[in-house]
Every structure is written in C-alpha cells, then in structure tokens.
Amino acid sequence: MFGYYLQLAWRSLGHNRVLTTLMVLALALGIGACITTLTVLRLLSGDPLPGRSAQLYYPQVDPYPKDGYVPGQSKPQENLTWVDANNLFEAHRAPRQALVALGSAKIQPHDAGGRPFFGDAVMATAEFLPMVGAPFRYGSAWSADDDTAGARVVVIADFLNQKLFGGANSVGRTVRLNGNDFRVVGVLGHFSPQPRFYAINIGRSYGDGDGVFLPLRAARATEMAPTNISCWAAGDIEHLETAPCMWLGLWVELPDAAAVANYQRFLDGYVREQVAQGRFHRTDTALPDLMQWLRNEQVVPDDARLQAGLAFGFLLICVTNTIGLLLAKCLRRSREIGVRRALGATRGAIFGQFMVEAAIVGLAGGLLGLVFAEAGLWGIRHQPAEYANLARLDLSMFAFTFVVALASALVAGLLPAWRACVVAPAPQLKSS
C-alpha cells in the first residue's frame, strides 16, 4: 500500500512541477537558514569542557565601596583581587582549585633572525591544567612547589612548540618570555576550550587556544600584566598585589551538591568576616557553575540569537506557504479523491496518501536545505569572525536537519490531508 502511495504522490508532484518546485524551494530555504543559524548558536553556546563543566564552580564576591550600594540590586564582581583570591585559595576548601588570569607574552625565538612576537599567556596555579583536563603530548604540568617557589617553568601549546622547536620534544629547553628564560616542563596536545571560559570578558573567546601556560607567581615576578584589570579606585596598576583592582579568577572543583552547599557557606562566612574587619562593605556572593557563569556573562552575542530567531520566523512563513500550496493542490484533486473513495478507499487511506506526498516534499526540502545550510556555513567560514573556522555541520545537526524538514512538512501536510479525507464522494462524482 505504501508503495502505491509513493507512486501516486510521485505522479501528483510531477503533474504540477512549478508548484512542487516552489514548495520544496521555500521549505529548503527556511530549513537552510534555520540550520545555519542554529549551528552558529550551538557553537557559541557550547560546553567548553564536556564532562567536567558541571563540577567546576566560580566563586564571586564584591569588594566595591559602600556608595551606591542597594542591597539585593547589585551583582558580585567578575574577578577577584589578589588578596581575596589568595585568601580563598589558601583555605583549600575544594578537592582541586586553581587561580587563573590571562596575560600577554612577548616571545623571543632563539635563532638570531627570528622576530619577537606576541602570544596569549595563561598565568595559573599548578592544578589548573589537570583540573580542566588539558592533554599533554610531552612532559606534564608544573607542581604546587613550583608555584610557591616562583619557579620559571612553562607549559607550551602544540602550535607554539611547532613554531619554536619544529614539533620536537622540547621538555627541558627554554623559552624567552618578556625577556626572561622559562624552562619547558610540558607540551600540550590540542587544547582550546570554546569559549575560552577562563577569560571571557576580554573578547576573542573562540579561537585556536592559548600559547603559553605558566605559574602565576613566576609570571608576576617577571612583570607579566593581566589583560583584564578592573579598578574601583585610583591605584598603581603595576603593583596589582596591593592595588584596589580585580584581575584574578578562582575555579574550584566541587564533586557533589553537598560540596557546593559547603563551599557556598564558606564563601558567605568569608565575606561576613571581611565585612566585620571593614575590608568589605557588600555582602553579595555567587557561586555559578561553568555553564551558568557563561550564561551570566552572556557570551553568546545578541546578534547570533536574533539571527536564529529570524531564521525560525522565516521557517514559519515557509511552512505556512507550503500548507497553502499543498491545500490548493489537494482541493484541485477533489474529483480524484471522490473516485477513490467511491471505489472503496477509506478516509485513513486518503489521509495516508496525502501525508506521504507531504513527506516527500519534506525530504526533498531537507535535502536541498542541507545544501543551503552548507552554503550558508561556507559563507560564515569566509567571514572574518573569530569563530568562523569552527562553523561546520556535524552529524547530529545533519540528522536534525531531516527531522526539522520532515516535521515541518508533516505539520504542513496535516490540514490539506485532513481536508482531503473529509471530501464527500457523492457530489464530486455527480458534478462530472
């Protein structure tokens, strides 16, 4: 029976080529636009550390002065001061934790002709790389002792190892950063969380990953400055350890809800203590997990969400259009339906026949929509946006395209198929 419906649908679609092309084209454009914008949206709002992000939390406090403070209406700050970051860090209230700040390094190649160049540098404490699951090609991360000793050691990214050492095992060799020699202790494999969750408020959140990772104290001892500094009063930004400035992030690994509740209590207690000592004036705290933190910071640009909304509106209009055209096609065939009903076809059979026809339109629309989506993503890859070369259709979006296409077409086919199956056979036969 299904084969017969297919044959009927094929003949009917072929009968009115212009209308069929129009339906397929409209549906395909709507689906292409939707899949393109959804792929970008999914890319931008993706999980930077799948499997680990649910256990990573970001404590926030508010060291701002009292003036302008309305309790309940202010949010804690994005970063911590050196003092607060260290106080929280030294308390060791989480199984694993790390301080992190993004800086910039002038990297000098050893060969005489090489020009110095810039690279993003991550200043962190020892557990940062293991905690976020960075893969090592050679060597390993530095130790907590290296942190306290201010050892001049560094972990470099694979692309920097390629550039400086031709991809060889460079553990034990030295890299010159901002005029100081650092000993390589590890070389990473590919590591580029999207977005770069540990430095999201400075832009360039989607890219190829950072070049160097080095101990925080050693970096500060060589006067490496953080890229994002926010001060609430005049102070000397060269001496960030004492200035009224926030520039450090603390990431803590909390394995379960009890640990989170414990840490929240500890954080609130710390803030109350600081208020009692007169260092703090505001009691707000926050402890978002990684994904919540990304949502709070609105990493996904408004434009990307607007575009996705627009694409869905577009698809809605395309579906309305398809309903109209299918309806026109099916009502034109009232006589044919009347004959089939008179010859014994049930209403269900007629309904099925028209739904098969709609499904064929949907599959064709999906197939063509896939072509449009690939074209759209190709266009995005050739834009100079920072996430451009990541915009690719993966297998799940590929499957999703067909689900959307089929669902849209079947929804579009419901009304016409319903109208077709309630056609009364007698008048149709009489009129001829």
Partner: protein
C-alpha cells in the same frame, strides 16, 4: 462592484484565505522589524568619526627590553625612543604628518575619565564622562580635525610623561559635544578638573567632532565627548597615527615596518601592527554590516516566498472558478471587471493580513525591546510596511488575475 458576493465567495475558501492573510501578517511583522534593525545598523556605521579618514593609518608597536618606567630617567629614555621613531617616520618621503596617539576612534582601546566643573569631585560622578586622546601639536593636521573655537596646540604646549603618571595637563582641547555640556555659553578659556583632580586644566580650543574609541553600547552615553591632551605618553609601547600624501597610503603601509626596524630592531611589529583607518573601520563595524546584509537577504527571500504563495493560491482559485468566470463574462462582465474582482479580493485579504501584521510587528518590537537593546519601532516603518505588503499582494495577483480576465465567455456554454 459590491463586496457582498466577494465575501460570500471567500467564505467558501476559509483555509486558503486564512493562510494567505497569515503569511502576509508574518511577513509584515518580520520584515518591518528586520528593516528597522538594518536601518539602525546602517545609521550607526555611517556616522562620521570626525577624522579625515582617507590617507590615514595607524602603527602599533612594542619595544623589547626597554626600561619599565619605574626608575628615574626611564621616562626620558622611553621618550627618546619615541622621538626617534617619530623623526624617522616624518622623514619618509610619502608621509604628510605623524603624531603619537594613545588610540583612535573605532579602535576599541580607550582611556576614559570624567571632567568636572569643581575640584575633587568623585571619579565616577563628574559632570561629564569623556575619553582622552593623548597626542602632540601636529594632531590637528594628522587626524584632519576641524577647529571651531579657540586655538590648537602649539609645540610649547606639548609635554611628555610616563604612562602611569597621574598628573593632569595644564591645557586641553575638547570636542563641541563636551564643551556644550560643560559650558553651554562657550568653553574656551574656562577651567575643568579631570578625573576628580584638584589641579585645574584650561580649555584652549574646541574641535567640531571626534568619536570615542569604544564602539560597544557602554559608550553610548559619551560617544562624542573627547578631551585632547597635548602629551606624549611614554611606555614600552607606542602608537603612531600617520597621514600620507594623497594616494600614497599603500606605499607607506609597506615601507613603514622596515623603517621602524631600521631605527631599532628590538621591537614587536606583527601583522596587526600596521593598519589603514579603513581596516580599523571595517573591523569595528564588521558585525553590524554582517547583520544588516543577512537581514536584507532574508527579507528579500521572505518577500519572494510570500509573493510566490499568493501567486500559487490565486492561480488555483482562478482554475477552480474557470466556469463561474465564463458565466460572468457571458452575462456582460468586461475583462476589466474580472481583473478588478481578483485584485479587490486580494486587497481585502492582504488588508486583513496587514491589520494582523501591524499588531504582530508591534508585539515583536516590544518583545525585542524587552530582550535586546532595541528602540521603539517608528510608525513610519509600519505604514511603509503596510503599503509594501499591499503593493506586493497586488503585484503577485496581477498575473493570475489577468489570466482569469482572459477566460472567454463561451466557457459558460460548455458543459465540462
């Protein structure tokens, strides 16, 4: 022609009528808001910065192994490095004028503060927020700014100081927007206190217009408030704005890197270091232009799809009413009556669609205002949108309606 028989006929095609009206309504709602967004983006991208943007370029560089600026004498060392660069750049044959700058409009790297009429006002609550441009006496010529009151800087006004030195300049120039805000009766010769300082600064001149470096929405409150300071900032990095002789921009952009390495090879100059102002502008407004283009393309396709839908459904109705049309023609209706019938019918449906569409457009706009940074949709856009969908409907219905009007009266006498 009375509307009564037409409405009676439409009642027989409820589903089709509702679908066309719905499609027109959705199209109107989306296209109205999309065009409004495009308009806003275009307006934003086209606002002049106040610079003469042609033949202007910027070099950003860092020295390697220079003093940090903390020791006495460091600032003078850094200044002599900068002076050497400036001299070399000014000696280039195709260069018209060079000034050290801390930033340029649209560069998204800025130094901001506040200007107050009283000394010692709290940093964040001065009379006006402002951005600072630190440069020298050749700034007016290099950037192509227009003086509207007072005088420009002379060589005698120019100082130099370390990057972190908090001292305030004795004289500044301000933009007209900032001058009007501080002293509506004329700002030249008046005194302001910058960043809550207790030492006065005299305004000696007013420039017509100069945009702040930031392009994000956080700068909306002070987009045109700039203060020009006659000071070379000394740090281990520097920026040079270069005005080339007409048509020589590309040549200078190529030649400038070797010239600077010739002065001193211990510096970082990479691919991003040398930029024409056109590059800076394109980079700053990249997202806005991309959004406007995308919205435009989607609108065009949407209009196409809706028009195709109207053509499809009307063609079907014409086919369905073939015989009735023949009867009307046989009873004396002229071709033009049939044409008008279908046109009026479409006008009626499109009109219903437009009414719903206006409501949807306003609703969508309110929703967007609530969730995104969006202004209220001006009535003009809605009226234009309504007119556009009605015209679109008429254009789409014309071909099928003409086909209907060509149905010969003899059809009425044929039994099918």
């Amino acid at each position: 022609m009375t509307l009564h028989p037409m409405i009676a006929a439409l009642r027989k095609h409820k589903a089709g009528v509702v679908l066309i009206a719905l499609q027109i309504a959705l199209t109107l709602a989306i296209v109205c808001n999309a065009i409004f967004i495009i308009g806003q983006r275009v307006q934003r991208v086209n606002r002049p910065t106040g610079l003469d943007e042609s033949n202007l370029m910027l070099v950003t560089q860092q020295w390697v192994g220079t003093p940090s600026g903390d020791q006495p004498g460091d600032v003078d060392k850094l200044d002599s490095l900068q002076q050497a660069d400036l001299a070399a750049l000014r000696n280039m044959p195709d260069v018209a004028s060079v000034s050290p700058v801390n930033s340029l409009p649209l560069l998204n790297s800025s130094w901001n503060g506040s200007a107050a009429l009283k000394p010692g006002t709290e940093l964040r609550s001065g009379n006006a927020r402002t951005t600072y441009y630190f440069s020298d006496d050749r700034m007016m010529a290099t950037l192509g700014l227009r003086l509207v009151a007072g005088r420009a800087f002379t060589a005698a006004d120019v100082q130099h100081r370390g990057f972190r030195d908090q001292s305030k300049p004795p004289v500044v120039m301000v933009t007209r927007a900032l001058a009007d805000k501080l002293y509506p009766q004329g700002a030249v010769g008046k005194v302001v206190y910058l960043d809550g300082a207790s030492t006065p600064t005299t305004i000696i001149g007013v420039v017509e217009r100069l945009q702040v470096p930031g392009t994000g929405s956080w700068t909306n409150s002070f987009t045109w408030n700039a203060t020009l300071v006659p000071t070379r900032l000394n740090a281990n990095f520097s920026r040079y704005a270069i005005r080339t002789k007409p048509g020589r921009l590309q040549a200078v952009m190529k030649a400038v890197t070797p010239v600077l390495y010739g002065v001193n090879p211990m510096r970082v100059l990479d691919d991003d270091s040398v930029k024409s102002f056109a590059d800076i502008r394109a980079e700053a407004y990249r997202a806005d232009v991309g959004m406007a283009v995308l919205m435009g393309v989607v609108c065009l396709i949407l209009i196409g799809v809706t028009a195709a839908g109207i053509v499809g459904l009307t063609s079907f109705w014409v086919g369905q009413r073939h015989r009735q049309i023949g009867v009307r023609r046989a009873l004396g209706a002229r071709k033009v009556d049939i044409l008008h019938y279908f046109q009026t019918e479409n006008l009626l449906i499109a009109g219903i669609g437009a009414v719903i569409g206006v409501l949807l457009a306003i609703g969508l706009n309110l929703w967007l205002m609530h969730h995104y940074e969006m202004d209220r949709l001006p009535v003009l856009y809605v009226i234009a949108g309504v007119a556009a969908v009605l015209v679109l409907g008429q254009a789409a219905v014309f071909a099928p309606a003409r086909r209907a009007s060509n149905v010969p009266p003899v059809v009425a006498t044929r039994s099918v």
